[in-house]
């Protein structure tokens, strides 16, 4: 079993949180996992991204230039990473913020998910990252969607524990959107 993914978006969209969530879900299943964020002198409004690698074997590089998975939550992320995605790779595109015409559709497996609309329709725009990870888990088949839901408690602080059910619903909604 091997899966890698670059998760990218605006700072504030919660890309690092869902990277951690995916990593915890993998760890809870006894898999090896690495997570590495870009850090440091990033500008506000710029792109934030992290790379997660999951494997049942020992993981070599935690840094991936040509991934097999990509979650592009905004236009700069698509511009930066789409061409690097390996042939046959899985790409989740936030069609709320990205013109679908910009996404490659034949070389790779592309899933258009209106992440902001789905989150807004659930009454909380901040759920956009959960919609994204739900869609990716479904589209990649990396692991059962429930395993990610079960790991929510590891990345959401006890103070926000009451938000877990709504986050779980958003993950399911993202998965549903990827099922089409």
């Amino acid at each position: 079993m091997y899966q890698d993914v670059i998760i990218a978006g605006f700072g504030g969209q919660g890309v690092l949180l869902i990277g951690n969530l995916l990593a915890y879900a993998a760890m809870d299943q006894g898999l090896n996992v690495t997570y590495i964020p870009v850090y440091g002198a990033e500008m506000r409004g710029g792109t934030a991204n992290c790379t997660v690698v999951i494997s049942d074997e020992e993981i070599g590089s935690p840094i991936i230039h040509r991934p097999i998975g990509l979650i592009a939550m905004n236009r700069p992320s698509l511009d930066k990473f789409q061409a690097r995605l390996k042939d046959g790779g899985v790409m989740i595109v936030n069609s709320s913020l990205i013109d679908p015409g910009l996404a490659e559709k034949t070389r790779i497996k592309t899933f258009m998910v209106p992440m902001n609309q789905i989150a807004d329709s659930m009454g909380n725009p901040r759920l956009v990252n959960m919609v994204a990870i739900g869609a990716f888990i479904q589209a990649s088949g990396a692991m059962p969607v429930e395993t990610v839901v079960k790991s929510l408690g590891q990345v959401i602080s006890p103070h926000y524990k009451h938000m877990i059910p709504q986050n779980a619903e958003a993950i399911e909604a993202g998965a549903k959107a990827a099922r089409g």
Partner: protein, 353 residues
């Protein structure tokens, strides 16, 4: 060594957990990216462990505080990143000269000068050749993953006391910032008698002790240097390394730390193509695992050294192989984030495939 629960933590945090588990009771910090997670963690953890955390006024001060704690026989640590570690060198030289145990962590960033905040292996020479003045050596441990960062930090404290010598943990911005599952255990009980025959505890009821690096009496410094040299020689037994797919390899790639694990991905890929390539990853950079390299050379292997600098460890590889074999070199310049793709072509080229 690490049998307890599994945490999903950064390499920086793994170092801090390892220090706690080893019974570290004093931490002296000063902020610099990419190691800030260590002092941040220790600022909360040290008081809880019944120890002391000091945010020093400078790296120079932090390193001298480490010297002071060490003189009292307290398990103590300081951490920084490249420019900050340069500032600590004077104190490290004094610690080596005074034979004091302490752990210094360097999460290597790009240089020279202020460089950048990204990963680099540009501090290899500074770490293994003695970054300060005088004839001295520090043990240098180079973890390649977060579990090793934890385990080797625990080991560093034991080695520091075993040899009464500073021990350096050399990581980089990749190791410091990446997260992996790490098995951590409860803090060990440090032997109260540790350092009992030299540490400063107040001279009540015994002759006074002086810990110093100044030797002005005729013959005294020469004698001291001979004693130190013998001690450094006796560290040979601490050599650690990882050999991966080297047995039938035609080409052995030598790489340490984060670069070692990135090269491992390349080795796996090329092995799937049937190419006979392996990885030799030194874990101790001082003492250097020369004997193991010599054995590989005697088996007729060829070598390629890969580093995230413009060529430093290659000198130790060539010294090790002296007269038996040579090593090709590929240096990835600090300032960029290395990926397996960056190393694949140089490895293929060295293989002649």
């Amino acid at each position: 060594m690490s049998t307890g629960k599994k945490l999903f933590i950064k390499g920086n945090e793994a170092v801090a957990y390892g220090a706690l588990a080893a019974g570290c009771k004093c931490f002296f910090g000063y902020p610099i990216t990419p190691q800030n997670d260590i002092p941040e963690f220790m600022s909360k953890a040290m008081p809880k462990a019944g120890g002391q955390f000091v945010q020093a006024e400078s790296e120079v001060a932090a390193a001298n505080m480490l010297l002071g704690a060490a003189a009292c026989g307290v398990r103590a640590m300081t951490s920084s990143s490249s420019p900050g570690v340069s500032l600590k060198q004077e104190a490290i030289s004094y610690m080596a000269g005074s034979e004091l145990p302490g752990v210094i962590v360097n999460m290597n960033r790009g240089g020279p000068g202020l460089g950048d905040i990204g990963p680099s292996q540009g501090d290899y020479f500074q770490s293994v050749k003695g970054g300060g003045h005088g004839d001295y050596r520090t043990l240098v441990l180079a973890p390649g993953n977060c579990q090793e960062a934890y385990d080797l930090t625990m080991l560093a404290f034991d080695l520091a006391y075993k040899y009464t010598n500073p021990v350096l943990i050399l990581g980089d911005a990749i190791l410091g910032q990446m997260k992996e599952p790490v098995s951590v255990g409860e803090p060990i009980a440090v032997d109260e008698a540790e350092g009992g025959d030299w540490k400063l505890t107040g001279a009540k009821g015994r002759p006074y002790r002086i810990l110093k690096s100044l030797h002005l009496e005729e013959g005294s410094l020469a004698e001291h240097n001979l004693k130190l040299a013998a001690k450094y020689e006796s560290m040979r037994g601490e050599v650690r390394f990882e050999s991966f797919e080297t047995k039938d390899a035609e080409l052995v790639v030598v790489a340490y730390g984060s670069i070692g694990r990135i090269v491992k991905t390349v080795v796996r890929k090329l092995r799937q193509e049937g190419l006979k390539v392996g990885l030799f990853r030194p874990i101790t950079l001082y003492p250097y695992p020369s004997a193991a390299l010599v054995e590989l050379a005697q088996e007729g292997k060829r070598f390629l050294t890969v580093e995230h600098n413009m060529g430093q460890m290659i000198e130790d590889v060539r010294l090790s192989l002296c007269g038996l074999a040579d090593s090709a070199f590929f240096g990835f310049p600090p300032g960029n984030m290395p990926t397996p793709e960056d190393f694949e072509q140089p490895v293929r080229q060295a293989l002649g495939r």
